[in-house]
Structure formats: structure tokens, C-alpha cells
Subunit: 283 residues, 2 copies
């Protein structure tokens, strides 16, 4: 069978398997659109995952309730649709306009999955014997949260806990910035930042908060010795740094040394430096 | 004198010092608008600096040719305008609309300075005995370039060299992401990436390129020993990694170890990890 005729056969299968593509007004598309907002996600317990790479991760990771797909995207990703069907995921053809309405990107890929929220209770995230955990305590920018989850994944963290006013990691921008890492390690959400730090301590972890005014230098030998043991890194707000509650609750406040004339690092790069100093201390 | 009457006096001074505020069509505003584009900047040898903090850095760093300011911004930043006048910088009142036309931000601050381009020849940037240099080789995103300059500043680099197809560090987004660091250390631009690496080697620096497939692990003791000596870190394109020319020209290819299921780090966090591993090796 030629490539062209295989595509025709798939298109024919799609046409026979479903009626006309769903539009923005189709009830299941309209319902899914509510998941673009945090309140809608929390109410439904579900979120949207967009694009071929992220949808593939979602299919690997757990239950996908439905997969919205445009004709163009279906032709581009036949193997992905086959995996979805193998998992028993309903594949819902939609118009390009409907796919765009479910998308937060400038150039929608025409592939959007509806998935269960990923977060688990803090105690579940800290089950077993964690030795390396990251806590986001008041991170407001979804791109930053996604990037921190990605760095935590790369550094080998056991879990990421999202405390205080931290933005929802199921936000589309956060999911995209994580490049799949939201599916790779346990995530937990809890507004009570001090309670989250106490849970970390109960799990045997020393709590370190990254703070420009911290009493410990990241590169002191004493700090390296700490980092070789079980630790939680706590990262505060990008605008205001860690709050007084978090600074008081942590075991140590650690500063990234600044050698030039910069005032500070931005949140994502500071997180990367702290988490990888921990990796280095264990190498 | 009360605060209110001091403000009235200043406003009166401004009115007497100049006629009506410049608009988008005023020739010097129209000329400055051309600096929003790279071709305009390269032709004029000048760039725009926006916002109180960045303008302050620009006034500290070198010649500022003119400072466009709205009434509101003038009232908010009297000390900054005093510094500008002390430096003999012409202060040009403009309308809010003119300031917005000179701005690339969503909420313009009403303060835009015209400054000389910052870059110097590569040989000038490498003068003296540099021990720690960063080379951007093909970084396309201005936010990434600005963030790398900020991290290089914080890590104590002697210079940042912008090679290959790297975006202009005088781009507004790059300047903003650097939070002033473009003014703190020598910057040089040269399209010939292999030539830039050769110049680094001539300056006594070992050249290391950050590469996911690199033969050396960042955390190997051998690598730490290298990092304690004079080195140049080379950072490639965020989309494609370092090009073959750069990989071949560098003395070593170094990978950041990935311990979880993430495929990689993003460019800015990888840069932060590499540059701060160097700081740690010298602590």
C-alpha cells in the first residue's frame, strides 16, 4: 500500500468512525474549554494536554479521557492515534477552530487530550524514603513552575510539592514548560507552606530555602555535606523571594554566591544551580 | 517646600525648559524608533534602554545621548532626571503615546534612553588575563541571551562573546532579561564562531561546549579540575544544540548529567548549571 493510499484509508476510517467534526459549540468541546481555567480544572478534576509530545507522555502516564484531534493532526500522527485507540481512549475529530479554542498556543497543533489531574496528597508524594524533594512556595509564573518541575526531574528529585500561592502545575504554560516532566514525578499541592515543610521534616528531609540573604553559602563545604544527605529545596516567589513564614520554618537559608555585579539570578536559574549543586554533592 | 509644591516647581521647570512634548512624529522620536530593529541599531550604533532601573545602569555605564520621558515618569523619577542632567544628557519630554511607540513592553514606564551599542571587539573583550568566559553560539531567543548574560555576570565571568547566529544582546527583551547585566561586563559580537573559539584558546582559555551528548560528565572529578583553570563555556542553539563546527572546534564536550526522565534542561538552566559548576570548582 502506498503512503498516499494508506492515508486515504485512515481518512476513510475516521470518516466512518465518527460523524462531522466537533465545533466550539459541541458539548464535549465546550466542557473541555472550561479546563483552560484553574477553577474549571479543580471542579472537574481534569486538565488539558496539548501537542504530540505531551499527549504521548499523557498516554504513557495514565488515564486519558478523550483526545480531540483535527484532520490535519490525525494525518500527521497516525501512530499516536493508534496508541490512543489501543488504550481505549475516545478519539474525537474536531475542526481546526475547535482545536484552537482548546489551545493556549499561538500555533495550535490540533491535538488536545483531557487527562486526570496529576497531583497526589503530600503524604503520598513523600511516601517511601525520599532523599531529594523540591518545594515551590509561592511561584506565580506558570513557565517558571514548569521549568522547575523539568529541572527537578532532570536532577532526579523524588517529588515536587507546590505550596502556598504557587500557580497550578496543570496550567497549559506550566505543562508546556515542563516538556513532559509533570508526568514523570509525583506532584502534590497544598496551600499551607509551613505544613508542607513540616511534612518534609517528618519524612527525614533537611529543609533548605534558597534565599539571597541566606546565612549559608551554597558552595561552603558544610553545605555540600548537607546536600549529600536527604534534603528538600524550597523556592520562593520570583517577585518577593521566600516569605517570612517559609524562611522561619526552614532548617537553613542558603544563598547562591554572586561574584559579579548582578543583583541576583532569576528563579529558574537559581533553582537549577541549587538542585544541581545537590546532584554534584552526590556524584 | 512641600512635596506637592516641589513637584509643581519641577513641572514648571520642565515646561519652561522645553516646548510641547514630542510625539511619535517628532523627528528625534521617529529616529529613535528605528532603534527597535537590529538593522536600525547597527546602522546608528545605538540602542534603546527602557525603564528606571535599566536607565540608571546606562547612566552609570557610559554615554547616554538622550532620555525620552513622559510627565508621569518625570514626576516619579526626579532623582534619575537629576542624574541625567548632571551627566549632561538631553532630557526630551514626550507624550505617553510617543513613549509607548519607543517601548516593547505591555506597560511602558515612560522612560527610554538612547545609548551607544555596548559591544567591543573580541580581542578587547579578551584583553588582560581572562579566566572565565561565556560564548553564546547561535542562541536565538533574546530572553535566553539576556538571562545568560545575567548568569555570566553573577558567576563572575570576564566577558560574554556572542557568536554565530546569536540574537543581538541590544534587543529590548535581551536587555530586560539581563536586568542590567549587559552593562556590567564586556560583550563582543562576531559571526565566526570557530574564530571566536580560536581567540579564546589564544587567550589561554580551555574551551568547553555544553552538549547533551558530550563525552565528559560535568560532575566528573576530571571536569572539576578543568573548571578550576581558565575556561570558556560555549552554549549552542536552544533548538538544535551546538553546531558541528562548534563541537569540533571546542577542546571538550561536556554533558550535564540527567538523573530522572527529563530529556534535557532548557538553555538558560543548563547555562546556569555549567557556569555555577565552574564557580563551585573555584570556591
Amino acid at each position: 500500500m502506498t503512503h498516499a493510499s494508506a492515508r486515504e484509508t485512515r481518512s476513510a476510517e475516521r470518516r466512518s468512525a465518527s460523524s462531522t467534526p466537533g465545533t466550539e459549540r459541541t458539548p464535549r468541546v465546550a466542557a473541555a474549554r472550561k479546563l483552560l481555567r484553574r477553577a474549571g480544572r479543580d471542579r472537574a478534576g481534569r486538565f488539558l494536554v496539548e501537542g504530540a509530545q505531551a499527549v504521548r507522555e499523557a498516554l504513557d502516564a495514565g488515564p486519558v479521557h478523550e483526545l480531540f484531534v483535527t484532520d490535519v493532526a490525525a494525518d500527521r500522527n497516525p501512530e499516536l492515534l493508534a496508541v490512543a485507540r489501543d488504550h481505549g481512549v475516545p478519539v474525537v475529530p474536531v475542526t481546526g477552530k475547535a482545536a484552537a479554542a482548546l489551545s493556549e498556543t499561538v500555533t495550535p497543533q490540533g491535538l488536545v487530550a483531557v487527562c486526570d489531574l496529576l497531583d497526589v496528597p503530600v503524604t503520598t508524594a513523600l511516601a517511601g524514603t525520599p532523599t531529594f524533594v523540591t518545594v515551590c512556595a509561592g511561584i506565580a509564573d506558570p513557565g517558571n513552575v514548569g521549568t522547575v518541575v523539568r529541572v527537578a526531574d532532570a536532577a532526579g528529585c523524588d517529588a515536587v510539592l507546590l505550596a502556598g500561592d504557587t500557580v497550578d502545575p496543570h496550567n497549559g504554560k506550566a505543562v508546556r514548560a515542563s516538556t513532559g516532566s509533570v508526568f514523570h514525578l509525583p506532584l502534590a499541592r497544598d496551600r499551607d507552606a509551613a505544613g508542607v515543610l513540616a511534612a518534609c521534616r517528618d519524612a527525614g528531609l533537611v529543609t533548605l530555602v534558597a534565599d539571597g540573604g541566606g546565612e549559608r553559602d551554597l558552595h561552603d563545604p558544610d553545605t555540600a555535606a548537607l546536600l549529600a544527605g536527604p534534603v528538600t529545596w524550597v523556592l520562593g516567589s520570583e517577585a518577593h523571594g521566600p516569605g517570612p513564614e517559609v524562611l522561619a520554618a526552614a532548617d537553613h537559608r542558603v544563598r547562591v554566591p554572586i561574584h559579579g555585579r548582578a543583583e541576583s539570578l532569576n528563579l529558574a536559574t537559581a533553582a537549577a544551580v541549587c538542585l544541581y549543586a545537590t546532584v554534584a554533592a552526590r556524584a
